[in-house]
Symmetry: C2
Subunit: 314 residues, 2 copies
Amino acid sequence: MATTDPSLAPTVASFRQFNRAYTRFLGTLNDRYLHTDFSLAEGRVLYELATHRSLQAREISDVLGLDGGYLSRILAKFKKAGLVSCTRSKDDRRAADLRITRQGRAVVRTLNLRADKQASSVLEKLSAHQRREFSRALSAVEQIVFDREPAAASIVLRNHRPGDMGMVVHLEGAGYVEQFGWDNTFEALAARIVADFLEKFDPVRERCWIAEMDSRHVGHVFLVQHPERHDTAKLRLLYVDPAARGMGLGQKLVDECVQFARNAGYRKITLWTQGILTAAHRIYQAAGFRLMREEPHHSFGKDLVGQTWEMELV
Amino acid sequence: MATTDPSLAPTVASFRQFNRAYTRFLGTLNDRYLHTDFSLAEGRVLYELATHRSLQAREISDVLGLDGGYLSRILAKFKKAGLVSCTRSKDDRRAADLRITRQGRAVVRTLNLRADKQASSVLEKLSAHQRREFSRALSAVEQIVFDREPAAASIVLRNHRPGDMGMVVHLEGAGYVEQFGWDNTFEALAARIVADFLEKFDPVRERCWIAEMDSRHVGHVFLVQHPERHDTAKLRLLYVDPAARGMGLGQKLVDECVQFARNAGYRKITLWTQGILTAAHRIYQAAGFRLMREEPHHSFGKDLVGQTWEMELV
DNA sequence: GTCGATTAGTTGACAAGGTCAACTAATGGG
DNA sequence: CCCATTAGTTGACCTTGTCAACTAATCGAC
């Protein structure tokens, strides 16, 4: 029965401690649902009704996993209080179409207001930076605990802001070391690239895109002026975090670069990459790049094959 | 009633969503407490008894916030099952000293094992990197939601690893921009400093310390060889995150530097800082540095006063 | 069409978890 | 010594939620 990996132990311990503490926290939070006459289950039913034009009891009990009998009584209470109206369904005369009434909506508004105020009271003392950190942490926990597949739609591209270059170096450094066992001279290279980028940054001819998912930095790419040739752009530091793989993010980032380069008047884009980064090659190929040269070299503590890819812009 | 800051709204929304989801998660998690014959409350009482040699009912109900009558019944059940023994207290013959029995401990072990297994089942598919991220995220959430004062004891100093330099740049870049309104040329400078550090790193004469609190990077400092003078060390990039202020971390980091410099045979340590960083000055002063020179300069988008501090090592 | 299986919703019975107040017995301060 | 207080127990009761039996409508197969 050697089911549990012992190296997981510290994580398990903090996870359990967190769960204990959060159980207590949510207990007081949901205590007599925000000091109203509603139970948590009732609140959830009302919320469900408020977010749909019309529902049947069946659908509610399915979604919320409530016992049919229990739900029936909750709905009876709501009907009596005038919070929902109930008409026999046209299609199926066993079922009843439930709709929230004007009063029902008023109650939901009150509940929402209270819940918002309650949440704010915990969060109001946070600085803007802490707020971002907090959102990021919540989404990280959710993703792992609920095994949530992140939605591609929730990824936002934006330009760089202070602090971003550091994250770029961090992700590149930690990522390639973990995945390919490179040493930290690679991190040094990344740091130098971003330092150069910031210092010589020409907003008309150069750009950096940061991909964020729920405020978390999950990818990036740079397009910069080639140091020697004025009509050539260089694509650098393309990165997609493991948390956001398989969502076409790499392609999206490269496409942004190509489009920008075209608009900026470049005639050619070039990039340098490594032979082992096959996932990236597919992206470059799909975007229209072609492999021009390969040369072996020893860098980052490994024997690697450097590749130069190019793309002519029409 | 304009109590709530509107810019907090997105954070509040994700916080509430998280709470809803976590309520459900903990509900299934604690459902009939791990499929044993114990309720969650019973489990907590037993846990409390297992972690203390001897307790009185009063203490338990205080700590766990349980109703006295309810607790009494829970304890009656435990006594009947032989999980706790109960002797009238010597000091106060109203009260009873409760102790967990051998059988009781066996039950706790079983519960713990199950809880561990359950937690592992959520976490086992994580990579080492994700595990660290997860621990970090949990501790960030805890700190904000439970307003936990971090314990100075929980801060660990270690040397740099891959990914750390990026975090250094990130924290410096985001931190000084947020606090003092500097522009991102400062981040560029930080990136260049860490790139130089990694490339020329001499482990005998140079060092970087990373301060971690619950796996989160909350501070750092560098001690490097002075570029011109062989007998002089340079202290660079001292940083203490707002989350770890007031715990003497800055002092601890500087002291580490001084001690290392002494052991490495340096005769002098020098550092360059800015006039507005008064909190840091106190630390340097306390460590034995003296302000040598000041000169105004325009950098990072601001008018600043550069300061050179030095310390002779005996 | 019609018959049996299925489904929507309701209802009664009941169990688990938890609260409240009254009670006993011991303590402790004036 | 007396009265207010405290530790713990117990009975009454409430809320939440489950289960199974029930009615009424529907659906599919023949």
